[in-house]
């Protein structure tokens, strides 16, 4: 029995990866939840918005790399991120003007807007594939590890290593900054307050002189920032592949709904709930248990509850449970 090694193994294989994944999901879910709160529809194009933002960032990154600009140990993509956000913001505003505005003026039913967002999803997916192709793209440069498993072992003298990847730290720091900025904006600034008012009660907000078009515009810009950041962080952590971003739609929606659609705090909580359950259910616990259990109780098998490919099933199962027992989500969202 060796509890410290067990804890280190747990941190290395479960806690840290789930933390990073949770932060990425939270940022994605925040975008979905904002669109739902302000524009009142579920945006199926969100995964592809993330892909688009990441693609824009990658292109700018390549430009910088060609010019020889780099951040040393940090990935160049961080410098490119603001440019990626700007490009995505312009694209979303353009989409709103060309596509969504018409239906907003018509006061179309939410389900029509969902179908429209399906069309936007197709187009964006097509554009991304057209410009950057369908291959796996690894655009993370700079130092790979902050602390590699070997250094950690040498430092502590333990059998298990705890590798801290640069991308994990960047993900957490960036996500924390983004969330702090968002909440400051929503709670302290005039525009942010008018957004919340619009989300809570559209009629009263209009009556008090809030310009709906301005609220919508600011929302799209914030969504662009959140989606691009989420996409770039995910891409740095794993790699960029257009199709994978589309598949992120399910865990992102699950996070937003589990937290309570329309509630930003809920989206963050939901993201971590989904990420931790996905990682914990699909992780093979043998390594941790061998350390944690006394000799005779050590397991023979992998002690993996479900194979990794069933991670969708996990987010889905949590989603269903929450919908059945608490339809408004863990935090009270707008609902039904």
């Amino acid at each position: 029995m060796d509890l410290i090694n067990a804890i280190v193994a747990f941190a290395n294989f479960v806690f840290v990866p789930a933390l990073a994944y949770g932060a990425q999901l939270s940022l994605g879910a925040l975008g979905v939840t904002l669109i739902y709160g302000i524009l009142r529809f579920s945006n199926f194009a969100h995964g592809d918005t993330m892909a688009f933002g990441t693609m824009a960032t990658i292109l700018v990154t390549w430009g910088f790399q060609a010019m020889g600009i780099s951040l040393g140990v940090l990935p160049t993509a961080l410098v490119a991120l603001p440019f990626g956000i700007a490009i995505t913001g312009l694209m979303l505003l353009g989409t709103d003007k060309v596509v969504y505005k018409f239906y907003r003026k018509q006061k179309a039913a939410p389900v029509i807007l969902v179908i429209v967002s399906m069309g936007v999803m197709f187009v964006m997916n097509g554009i991304v594939r057209f410009i950057i192709g369908v291959d796996d793209i690894d655009f993370a440069d700079g130092e790979r590890f902050l602390i590699s498993a070997r250094t950690f072992k040498a430092m502590t003298g333990l059998d298990e290593g705890l590798a801290i990847r640069t991308t994990t730290v960047i993900t957490l720091v960036t996500a924390a900054i983004a969330v702090a900025l968002l909440f400051w904006f929503l709670n302290k600034t005039r525009t942010g307050k008018s957004m919340r008012a619009f989300s809570d009660n559209e009629d009263l907000a209009l009556l008090s002189g809030i310009n709906p078009e301005r609220v919508v515009m600011v929302t799209w810009l914030i969504v662009a920032a959140l989606a691009t950041t989420a996409g770039v962080l995910y891409g740095l952590d794993k790699s960029f592949k257009a199709f994978v971003y589309f598949q992120l739609l399910l865990p992102i929606f699950a996070s937003a709904i589990v937290g309570g659609l329309g509630n930003p705090l809920g989206a963050i909580a939901g993201g971590f709930v989904i990420a931790f359950s996905e990682v914990m259910v699909t992780y093979a616990w043998k390594k941790v248990l061998v350390y944690a259990m006394p000799g005779p109780l050590e397991p023979d098998g992998l002690v993996q509850l479900l194979s990794t490919d069933y991670k969708f099933a996990v987010s889905f199962a949590i989603l269903i449970i929450v919908l059945l027992f608490k339809p408004t989500g863990l935090f009270k969202g707008q609902s039904v």
Partner: protein
Amino acid sequence: MTPVMRNTALFGLMAALLIGTGMVQGWNLALTILNMGLISAILALGVNLQWGFAGLFNIGIMGFIALGGLATVLVSMPATEGAFAAGGVRIILALILGAATIVGAVLVQTRMAKGRLRALSTVAVLIVGFFVFRAVFDPGVEAIEAINPASTGYLGGLGLPVLIAWPVGGLLAAGAAWIIGKTALGLRSDYLAIATLGIAEIILAVLKNEDWLTRGVKNVVGIPRPVPYEVDLQQDVGFIERAAGLGLDPVNASTLYVKFAYGVLFLIVLLLLLWLVQKALHSPWGRMMRAIRDNEVAAEAMGKDVKGRHLQIFILGSAICGLAGAMMTTLDGQLTPTSYQPLRFTFLIWVMVIVGGSGNNFGAVLGGMLIWWLWVMVEPIGLWLMGVITSGMADGSWLKDHLIESAAQMRLLTMGVILLLMLRFSPRGLIPER
């Protein structure tokens, strides 16, 4: 122009497109497009039943199609020798135990008084059930997958004629739809959408991972056919003579004959279903459905069981998708779980329904055929277009290479633009609901 004339003209145009393809690019391709177009039309009918009749937003079509594909394997492939004896009993027992666990949890939920004790007992039943299930299940799976893994390693099927698999595919999909409908119907429309999206991914994950059932990513090939094989036809003296009479060489004639035979089978199914849904649309049941769709509250006030009717039509529509999925796998002759992609198998069907005209069965059929034709044709058209655009550029420039290479990706873009344009300028579709 009366609606009847307009619709006839639209279908005439569709026929002209197919015939044109046949004359320009060869009849082989035209028949290939026609066959998949017929299947697409059936899928569109199923989705139209759910969306057009009842306003249910299902984006898990891919899952039902995949279940249909599974049915073909389970019904028509020969049973793997010794597999059932090795682990079949264990697996069936495990599945029964798994089902019993879920029933037990539901019983605990409904029978016990609300409170912490109930929640704890539910969780306990589920956890214990899961571990018992895995303990029985895993050895069975291992035993089956150990049998000649290179060519079988799975249970196999019943070895029945493949045509039986079509209705079975419908039944499988209907069963899945019942489970989803029981849990997700009655929630708001976008939640049903997410739920169906999720279940489709899960069905696919099962198909990809449960090697004992479907061989997973190793694919099941050589699924028996309802029509003769080309090789046999080419050796049939009578066939060669008839082919020569039409001025065709035996190889070409045999491929055309096989595709034509598939086409006739699919057409029979399509016409039968079309007749059925038309009858349903104009029956009191169809009117009730549309009344529910247009105003649920009013329909409920008139004593209609909205949730029950929704469940009914959700199951029916999904069953049609399952049937079409079985037909598709039969046509391919193999089950390749990795080939199921949501954009192609779920969202494209939605484009078909919206373009054709939601709420109109003929519209769905037309949309299915037309969009499928376009889906196939966009690639050569895109390539040609790129050729024209890049003709002025120097050979070997990266932009030219990139543009020509990317032409293959034009499909999604085109489909998205078509969907958006349709929704904006003609939201009722090519053949609107009357």
